[in-house]
Symmetry: C2
Subunit: 462 residues, 2 copies
């Protein structure tokens, strides 16, 4: 009965355009794009201000009616999909609060693409870049400590946010919104909420760091013989171009083949097929870097460190090369079902990981097709294992948990993480608890400190 | 009686070379170099391993005997000086734990200078740089979220640490030591302990991020007419050399005069005196930057943006210029007593702050001599107000709290922070509580989560 009373009170307290119980309107919020979770909720709240969030939280706290929090609904671990809880979407929190020469303070519902535009108006960049940037919102990006392709140079959200506004379960506000670069007055409250997947509070606004806009960008596609070459190349480039290297993405031939099969707009970067590729990006502020990059890769080619190189000579070509990388996830979905892993290991161990994990999954399910791609400079590999042609999708997917355990055992033996950037959510909750019992114990200290009644996202993390 | 029992048990449990009750040996740990605090303790523990820290914490927790934590004893806000608590110094935790191509994991007692040497052996740098680096230890630097002159490019300790080992009050360990660049398995535990001034746990080890060693460094001394010029210059340089600008320090003429009066080794960078100066440093990885920097400052000179420029043409000259900046604090101490402020405001408001605060303190105490210097690119100014010649030191220092309030009122009105990098400690505790009651409430959530019995540094922060 408590949830019924809460809904009654919410309808009474909030403006009519800040909620809905219309099943048709709610439906899109209950599915995520990978179709792995289907949720349900009796009620959707879409607050337009921090005060409306506070009102909603106070009512739900009083009635002990849990809230599921959602940003742009692009999460990959099921955290944003309600299961009978009231759903609170922050996508209508869209005001811009403040701008200084080096920061931008916006409400949680702004999309990453909107932030890119706001930054561009000031001739600055906000460097976070990921495939879902048109839908992903600042609130969700903070809550998941989002990464993307530019982490190698700029870091993840935790490094890109200088402050937050958060509504806690008791209706109070943590406000660290702040254009200051240095502030040592007490504890670092902000970082607790970044990557907490909405379990500690509702992020309603964020101060984002802006960076000077590079004057030159170089985008290259490079063919290599094996992942170990990619690691060596990463360390060489990081030492030679430490401030310029802004992306280095590993791509296997199979991924390219699938992307091209399903997209008419893209074409193969090289005439011949090669076993592995790297998409590499450099950002710089002087013309000299251009020449140095060209020289460097010519020398790699001569010394057979790389098998072939394409350097984009137009923005359009650069965008095409980038699109190949960005289309990998979407193309896989069309090919069939895959069991996914989002892992990281120390960079120097990426090749060992790919080799060991590929061998292990093929031993477990013969003819499955492992696809390892991603952010090699961060040691972060998306290891997605495609179903064998002869196996039905549902039969194959029933192996999800067991295969995860096989792969994650290898990750842990290499000193790695079982969730590099997508988070824990529903998907990896059991493994978090079983693999990191000590960490979970410490996490519970924080959960109890900020949300002792488990009001927010009660099914997550623990 | 509890502390007596604790000491008895500590003597029994710990090796003899891990503690002392010899007053003579303890004495140096009870004074800090600015001579503002004089402490006392019946017992000093100097653990040599994490296990010894755990043993010590368990005994003290059981006997409810509080611990004061100390690193290299270079703190500026009195946090490291015990007042009857048992003193735990982490300076004998000196092992190196692990090294990867881009991280270094060391125990808390290593000094910053030792870390610089270890990094140099790998042809890398650990970019934190501050005057006390020969004594300051990693544990203390983490606990105070230390900054220094390179924050403008590399950030403070919170950005430079990738993981910690921390002993909590219940004897359990938070271990996030980790060479991984991405790890989204649960909450960001690490950052709670960075800048917590030892109130949440004992930092026993840290994983530090290493960076490629720049191939070229340019050190300049620039004369300018007023602080507003420094702000304009910062924004211009940050846009022109966003990856090269590694330090930009504001220095008033009075500071130079005092430094030179007290040091024979240093000489005035310009023949003439100018009202204000900037020490500027660029780090780069190509020779072209050198030429561009020279061109840029020649143009500033021609357009009278700056009054004069010296570019160091040898490592020795660069070190001399840097020494002028680094000697400011020490020279002031010899000149007389000063009332200090370590504040930050948004960078664009630094000139307003200096003007308003200087006027206000002179109105409050005629003939006092405000000295504003420091990290202009971070908006972080050390605003130290020297005693008037006619006033006795003790009489002058009795105005400390009132002057702090006058200056901090201006800081807060400009959206700034009353502690930019030195922390809160004993010095600013009353102001923290009165100015940020809401923040303190949230901080208490964390204190209760990690140290509910107030075992660590019980007199700090709250």
């Amino acid at each position: 009965m408590t949830i019924t009373t809460a809904i009654k009170q919410l309808k009474h307290s909030l403006p009519q355009d800040s909620w809905t119980d219309d099943i048709g309107l709610i439906a899109p919020y209950l599915r995520e794009w990978r179709d792995r979770w289907q949720g349900d909720t009796p009620f959707l709240v879409l607050p337009k201000s921090t005060q409306e969030v506070i009102d909603c939280v106070n009512i739900c706290q009083q009635q002990q009616a849990s809230l599921c929090l959602q940003g742009g609904n692009t999460g990959l671990v099921g955290g944003q999909i309600p299961k009978s809880e009231i759903l609170l979407s922050t996508k209508n929190l869209v005001n811009q609060r403040q701008q200084t020469p080096e920061t931008l303070t916006v409400e949680a519902g702004q999309t990453l693409t909107q932030i890119h535009s706001l930054a561009a108006k000031e001739n600055k960049i906000f460097p976070l870049s990921l495939a879902s940037e048109g839908s992903a919102t600042i609130g969700g990006l903070c809550s998941t400590n989002a990464g993307g392709i530019h982490v190698v140079r700029y870091g993840s959200m935790r490094q890109l946010v200088s402050g937050l506004e958060v509504v806690l379960a008791d209706g109070s506000i943590v406000n660290t919104l702040n254009p200051l670069k240095k502030d040592n007055t007490g504890y670092a409250l902000t970082d607790n909420f970044i990557g907490a997947e909405g379990t500690l509070g509702v992020i309603t606004a964020a101060s984002l760091k802006l960076f000077p806009k590079p004057t030159h960008t170089n985008t290259l596609f490079v063919a290599i013989s094996k992942p170990q070459k990619a690691i060596e190349l990463y360390f060489t480039l990081k030492n030679t171009f430490p401030t310029e290297l802004s992306a280095i993405e590993l791509i296997p031939e199979l991924a390219i083949a699938w992307v091209l099969k399903l997209t008419n707009q893209l074409s193969r970067p090289f005439k011949e097929n090669h076993p592995w590729y790297l998409l590499i990006e450099f950002e710089s502020f002087n013309l000299e870097s251009n020449l140095k990059i060209e020289e460097c890769f010519n020398s790699f080619l001569q010394r057979k460190v790389v098998l072939d190189v394409v350097m984009a000579n137009s923005l359009r070509q650069a965008q095409q090369l980038r699109s190949i990388r960005e289309s990998i996830s979407a193309s896989q979905k069309k090919i069939g079902q895959s069991i996914k892993h989002d892992i990281s290991v120390p960079v120097e161990k990426v090749a060992s990981f790919i080799q060991l994990a590929s061998k292990a999954v093929i031993e477990y399910i013969p003819n499955c097709r492992p696809l390892a791609f991603g952010h090699i400079g961060d040691g972060n590999i998306h290891f997605n294992v495609m179903q064998p042609i002869e196996l039905s999708a549902s039969k194959y997917l029933s192996h999800w948990e067991t295969m995860n355990i096989i792969v994650h055992d290898i990750v842990v033996s290499l000193g790695g993480s079982i969730s590099a950037e997508h988070g824990i959510g529903i998907l990896k909750k059991a493994e978090l608890v079983s693999r990191y019992p000590n960490k979970v114990k410490h996490m519970l200290r924080l959960k109890n400190a900020f949300d002792p009644n488990n009001l927010f996202n009660p099914r997550l993390l623990f």
